[in-house]
């Protein structure tokens, strides 16, 4: 992404990504985010026809009777536009499971938001897509669980998924909408990265997201079924970097890399509460997808408080804003304004303290143990998937034991 994000003197590019941990990044982010957040992830529902084990949703899925009303979501869109948010990702779960998606898209469009529909596409028909486009939907992103139909359907636990996705992808381009293919990469499909690129070109996609799974929510639970080896990871990253150059002007490839094998942590969300907001199906406003895993934080709800007030004054947003919250080694680190100490939720999940340095950082005392565990898991045969469904959620809701730090 670095090459693409370089300005040429007359413009700079800012990424407003829907992937967990990506958020807002690029040279233009400081200027644009100084005024207001740029991106909003609207998780309209946790209902989903698929059961992917790599899902970054929390284990505890929100029930349908807790979901926000049409009117509240439309109000959120209006408030977002007024406060200066520029892009909205309509996501989930599966956003098309909401029968009122049409009204929400209309509200987003009227509010001047650039709307991205993040969909599994298996339940979308052409008439509905046409209606959404007429109402101002700007962009469609379709996930493919693999390029091999059989493996894709095993990963998503949805028979016949691939053909449906291919149909929807064709309609998207026929309607003149830009198409992104989302490729969630893990050990059980990493060998097909080259074929994902071929598929995206063949479908006429503008973008391909090679999205290495980030280990939050269901994916964290399923890490031993998902994490690729270091060698496979490096090979696939190098391949994508070569293909990017070859496909310049044809296909933009965004790559979200796994951080377990990195030395420096990712600049998670482009910094906590710097440019991105996330709203859960029940209306809780979070600084990132996984923030609810930090149990000490209290989250405000859009039903109780205006969105702008939450952005400016909510305790959860202010908890890790800036650098004052940092402990060592972050506090005195030269990179603290570059990576913001990495990911708070990963620090929480693995070290038990959200203020610790992200263990993906080589300076964290937990780093060695985290990498050792990951490598060990990757070297063994994959564990069976714990599929994302309410039955498994009930079983999995038990406390996670943090790692012990090295001496």
């Amino acid at each position: 992404m670095s090459e693409e994000l370089k300005g040429n003197g007359h413009l700079e590019t800012l990424v407003v990504d829907d992937e967990p941990t990506e958020g807002v990044s690029g040279d233009a982010s400081a200027e644009l985010c100084a005024r207001a957040p740029v991106g909003l992830l609207a998780e309209l529902t946790h209902r989903c026809p698929l059961q992917c084990s790599y899902c970054s949703n929390p284990i505890e899925l929100e029930r349908v009777n807790k979901e926000l009303s049409t009117e509240t979501w439309c109000s959120v869109m209006r408030q977002a536009g007024e406060m200066g948010i520029l892009q909205v990702h309509l996501s989930g779960g599966e956003p098309t499971a909401r029968k009122d998606l049409e009204d929400i898209v209309s509200a987003a469009s009227e509010a001047g938001l650039y709307s991205n529909l993040i969909t599994a596409a298996v339940t979308l028909n052409r008439a509905r897509l046409e209606d959404l486009a007429k109402r101002g939907l700007d962009h469609v992103q379709i996930s493919f669980q693999d390029v091999d139909p059989e493996n894709a359907e095993r990963i998503g636990a949805y028979p016949g998924a691939t053909q449906k996705k291919l149909d929807v992808a064709r309609w998207v381009t026929e309607l003149g909408l830009p198409l992104t293919i989302n490729a969630p990469i893990h050990r059980q499909n990493i060998h097909n990265v080259p074929r994902y690129i071929e598929l995206a070109v063949k479908l006429g996609a503008q973008r391909l997201e090679i999205a290495h799974v980030q280990y939050y929510g269901w994916a964290y639970l399923n890490r031993a079924a998902l994490i690729p080896t270091y060698e496979e990871t490096v090979k696939s990253i190098e391949f994508v970097e070569r293909e990017r150059e070859r496909l310049k002007g044809i296909l933009t490839i965004d790559m979200v890399v796994p951080d377990y094998y990195a030395k420096r942590p990712k600049p998670c969300m482009g910094g906590w509460a710097k440019g991105f907001m996330n709203i859960t199906p029940a209306g809780k406003v979070l600084p990132c997808h996984a923030a609810e895993t930090i149990k000490t934080l209290q989250f405000d709800n859009v039903q109780d408080r205006p969105l702008l007030d939450i952005w400016l004054n909510s305790d959860a947003f202010n908890a890790f804003r800036g650098t004052d919250w940092m402990k060592e080694p972050c506090r005195s680190c030269a990179f603290k304004e570059v990576d913001f100490g990495g990911c708070r939720c990963q620090a929480m999940a693995i070290t038990g303290d959200a203020r610790n340095t992200d263990p993906a950082c080589a300076l964290s005392p937990y780093h060695g143990e985290m990498v050792r565990l990951a490598r060990e898991e990757a070297s063994r045969p994959p564990k069976p998937f714990v599929y994302r469904n309410p039955r498994n959620a009930a079983e999995a809701l038990k406390a996670e034991r943090p790692l012990e730090p090295a001496e």
Binding site: E4, N8, H10, L11, E12, T13, L14, V15, V16, D17, D18, A28, E31, L32, R35, A36, V38, M83, G84, L86, Q87, H89, G112, Y114, N116, D138, H139, Q141, V172, T173, E174, G176, L177, P178, L179, T180, G204, Q206, R207, K248, G249, I250, L251, T252, D254
Partner: protein
């Protein structure tokens, strides 16, 4: 050819008639008091020059005509403007944001 399919890299030359695909939105952001270009999961921040160029990318004018229009408007030498415009448009074409 549809805006959403691009089988080959567009090489922007003097005779190219560039246009922005319909799904790119160039608009003024009143809160930030600046122009922005919205694209799938991207926000671009064009400066005044880039905005002037983009507004002329209507699919009818050639690059040479765009250069001539800007040279007149800004009373600047066409050679300098041409290099700048070609560089800007090629950069955008390589991101998939300019079609010709």
């Amino acid at each position: 050819m549809s805006d959403t399919t691009s089988p080959a890299r567009l090489i922007v030359g003097r005779e190219t008639r560039p246009h922005l695909p319909a799904y790119l939105k160039l608009r003024h952001d009143p809160g930030r008091d600046r122009w922005i270009l919205l694209a799938p999961e991207r926000v671009l921040t064009p400066d005044q020059t880039a905005v002037a160029v983009l507004k002329l990318c209507d699919g009818k004018r050639t690059v040479e005509e765009i250069v001539a229009a800007l040279a007149e408007e800004y009373s600047a030498p066409a050679d300098v403007i041409r290099t700048d415009v070609l560089d800007l448009l090629q950069g955008l074409a390589d991101k998939g944001y300019i079609k010709g």
